[in-house]
Symmetry: C2
Subunit: 552 residues, 2 copies
């Protein structure tokens, strides 16, 4: 039935896309291919695994300056105590703990001995971390939509009743605070059932870690797996609380972690096809695409050159880990196109100049980061990895000038950014020394292993260096350390950074983590941060790919 | 299909009731009849008429000390202006006017040119009168459940979208205030459609008023019809905003008005059968029964002797207006039982003593009203009217002692309450002179027409008399004036009282109306009052029953 429905849906979408494409300029990139690609993406849409999760107990927030964001939860009773509670006017709010991060649909039942003579009114506040339940949301000071915050007011007209809150909103949380805002004085009620229909497309059994793997590594791996699993829905989402959306940067890291855990390669395939089918008219893939309320046939592009270049790297990894060269060949034109688009930003010397082809360069949550050296390195890295893909596919003749291109870029970068004296990469007019500039000059092979090790060691000893701001950027830092043979430093950095979140009680890894500032938020209000964020899941990749470094 | 469904539902309910009854004490009153009665009630459940109502324009609340509760609405644009508005962060709240009171399901569509990257969050506040939209609901000072207030917070996850707010809550309102609480800075949207799927079981065409009927009477009649129509749902509700429920007192007055307008007698029949099937184990009918989430087979009784006695009067009227003597005969035992129950409260002298069979006596929203004379009169009136019913049905032999009973009650009442000197009925230990005591001694025939006219005239000239507090009690006052031949006074009283509401802008008549105090509320907070309330609809009955008094 599901298969039949999909086939029909696919037919409809195909017709729609075919029409949309035919109605447009015939010179549109990949014109005839898009509808087919979209269909393939829909064909491999995963079935969501549904699991009923019941809460494990009541908790109470306690101020604790040593806890993350100043709050920790302590046990406040078991669920039987909650179900035994008689709700009436004046019943104080309670917080129910599901014991782990869940993504899904929350429901409960209300029960009365007799009847109800009036509606009850509740506020349910869903939190991934304790401080979301202790920080008033209004007046809302944040930059993103207030709508992302997970509090809902619900009127239950009669009792008894079974309610899903709210009917069409999937929530991501561990804790739910229940506040009774309205009830009549004439009746009492109690909760008789509370659960979450949790959803995820992650399936399969991740690898066992080696005997003797230290406990902290085990815990980091487990939290990473939870993070990845919660973000694996009908696409690789960036975060199940916010934005619920496919971004290339997140996809790239999620796919890496997936290749070393669940191995649900079809989800990667689906995302790569979706991005291809929804590229702009020049063939430039958008950094993010929208699944709801319908896939955008040609979205208003959000273009990030670092992300569009990573598309080819993600496809190369997909082919390598899945062995699916057919998909590689099918999407190869998209990879070529991303490199062609990026080349529009190269100056005659082979230096990437964002003014020539302006786009948002993500890299990190760091407004003070000069991105010149980073994008130079990332483009070099991506073109080289895309050339590797061409060789896997036997299409390298089509891009025979790429090796020459990256050689020229490396040489130009060394001239422009490498300071032989200090051994550091310095980026931009102010010669900024940042972690990421070193990282990308390492990953691109612009620096030799020896030079890279020196640069990374030097930057770690520079107190004034522009540091790393997010788990996303931290991934590349760990990778660069390993690539330069600085394995002990990689291990320490991973344990310090992701272990720091575990120490602070993370059930899933956070979108933003600054060991010095629990309240850091790119959005002006820390509760709007996502606390289960895909780009933070990569310890799963590192721990399982490099057992000799991490599982000892 | 509907018929088949009903038959099946009826079968299920019958089985359930049969089981419930058989499981109980076999001495339960009407034991074997209840399930059958319930089935008959379900068989005549009306089909709700559905009408799509679109808003007529924008309005803006303006402070006006001469307006009801200090606020009036003035026009603020047409709907095209509203639909042309671009919604984005900072868009101020607007109030949409549906032009009339509607009861139903509110929905709207959101539209974007491109896409939405975040949820939008709204507060919708539905108001029957302007001040509901200008008075903050929180902190809520009222006595009834805060849940009755019609404000809902809605998160719309993606855009475009068509939304019904909220999916299962029927609203009663004329105005809806729209506040945008959350949106991202990256997109804009607009409303493309807004409507109410209005529901009512009222059908048929009320009578035309005589040519030359004064404009104010026409307006009172129209507002009364709107009030009645909005309260006619699957039962006679007391109010579509609050409590959405069948009460005998409201049913009695609604059925009277219905008999002189829509003539949907099946709704009366249904309500009478429901009340009978859900009487308590002694056969005493509950003042109110609960339709949702399921009909209470045997509710925790809310017993009001004035209401249970009116059951027989309502059945007598039903038989008289519909001609359906079969129903009259079927439910006759219930009427007898109500009289028997009431007799338990009579002392040997024939005086009703609430201490002997305690129950809540409604009569009016007046805590200072002494109800002794009123209940004495009401019981006498009800037993006499029930005896009239018996004569219509040919069952008067079963209750041959009733005429003697009421004669004794009248005689006792004259001794206990009638002050020949002043011509006033005085009630209770403090000899309270109230409007209602006169009214009920008139309606019961305890006073002669002449005595009644004298008593009513005297009370109207007593500045210290306990006055009438609600439209419900006002009905009986008008009826008593007419019965005593004080037609001019009846006409003036009706125009003053209900016309006062019309003057103050009523679209439907209010639950509570005190010409001296717009903010009066039995519940401690005037916005929780119902502003479309069944018991206020009876001008329809008076105007159409007594054209010689009112249509001139």
């Amino acid at each position: 039935m599901t298969r039949l429905y999909r086939a029909f849906a696919c037919f409809c979408l195909f017709s729609l896309l075919a029409y949309a494409v035919s109605a447009q300029d015939t010179s549109i990139a990949f014109g005839p291919e898009r509808a087919r690609w979209f269909c393939i993406a829909q064909e491999v849409q995963p079935v969501l695994q549904q699991t009923v999760v019941e809460p494990v107990g009541l908790v109470r927030p306690v101020r604790d300056s040593s806890a993350f964001q100043g709050w920790r939860m302590e046990p406040a009773g078991d669920m039987q105590q909650f179900y035994d509670m008689t709700y009436k006017r004046g019943t104080p709010s309670v917080i129910v703990d599901f014991g782990r991060h869940v993504t899904g649909y929350f429901s409960f039942s209300l029960h009365t001995d007799g009847w109800s003579d009036a509606p009850t009114r509740f506020r349910f506040t869903f939190g991934e971390v304790p401080a979301e339940l202790t920080t008033p949301f209004d007046p809302y000071p944040g930059g993103l939509s207030r709508g992302w915050l997970q509090d809902e007011i619900v009127t239950v007209m009669t009792c008894p009743e079974h309610i899903t809150v709210p009917i069409d909103r999937r929530m991501a949380f561990r804790y739910v605070k229940i506040e009774l805002l309205g009830v009549s004085g004439s009746f009492q009620f109690d909760f008789t059932g509370m659960r979450v229909r949790a959803v995820s497309s992650a399936s399969g059994t991740p690898m066992e870690l080696a005997a003797g793997t230290p406990e902290m590594i085990r815990r980091i791996n487990a939290v990473g797996l939870a993070t990845l699993g919660e973000c694996m829905q009908t696409v690789y989402e960036d975060g199940p609380k916010r934005d619920l959306r496919l971004w290339i940067g997140d996809l790239y890291l999620e796919a890496l972690a997936n290749s070393y855990s669940f191995k649900n390669h079809d989800l990667t395939k689906r995302c790569l096809y979706l991005l291809a089918s929804l590229a702009d008219s020049t063939g430039w893939v958008s950094a993010t695409v929208y699944e709801r309320p319908e896939w955008k046939i040609q979205g208003k592009g959000t273009h990030c050159m670092d992300y569009s270049l990573l598309y080819g790297v993600a496809l190369a990894d997909y082919v390598k880990y899945s062995g699916d060269t057919a998909t590689g060949r099918d999407l190869w034109p998209v990879v070529k196109r991303q490199v062609e688009v990026a080349r529009e930003a190269l100056d005659p010397a082979g230096i990437y100049d964002n003014a020539l082809k302006p786009s948002w360069l993500v890299f990190d949550w760091k407004s003070d980061l000069n991105r010149d050296a980073s994008i130079q390195g990332l483009m070099t890295f991506a073109v080289d990895r895309s050339y590797e893909l061409a060789r896997m596919l036997g299409t390298e003749k089509e891009v025979s000038d790429w090796p020459k291109l990256t050689a020229r870029m490396k040489s130009a970068a060394r001239n422009a950014y490498y300071d032989r004296k200090s051994g550091l990469v310095l980026s931009g007019p102010d010669k900024q020394a940042s972690y990421l500039s070193q990282v990308w000059m390492v990953l691109s092979g612009t620096l030799s292993v020896k030079e890279g090790a020196r640069a990374l060691s030097a930057i770690m000893e520079s107190p004034d260096a522009c540091r790393i701001g997010s788990p996303y950027a931290y991934h590349y830092f760990i990778e660069a350390l390993i690539q330069c043979g600085l394995e002990e430093q990689a291990r320490t950095a991973l344990i310090d950074y992701w272990g720091g979140m575990v120490h602070k009680g993370a059930d899933t890894f956070w979108e933003v983590y600054d060991p010095e500032d629990d309240f850091k938020s790119p959005y002006g209000f820390f509760p709007i941060n996502s606390y289960c964020h895909a780009w933070s899941c990569t310890p799963v990749y590192f721990i399982n790919k490099y057992p000799e470094v991490f599982q000892r």
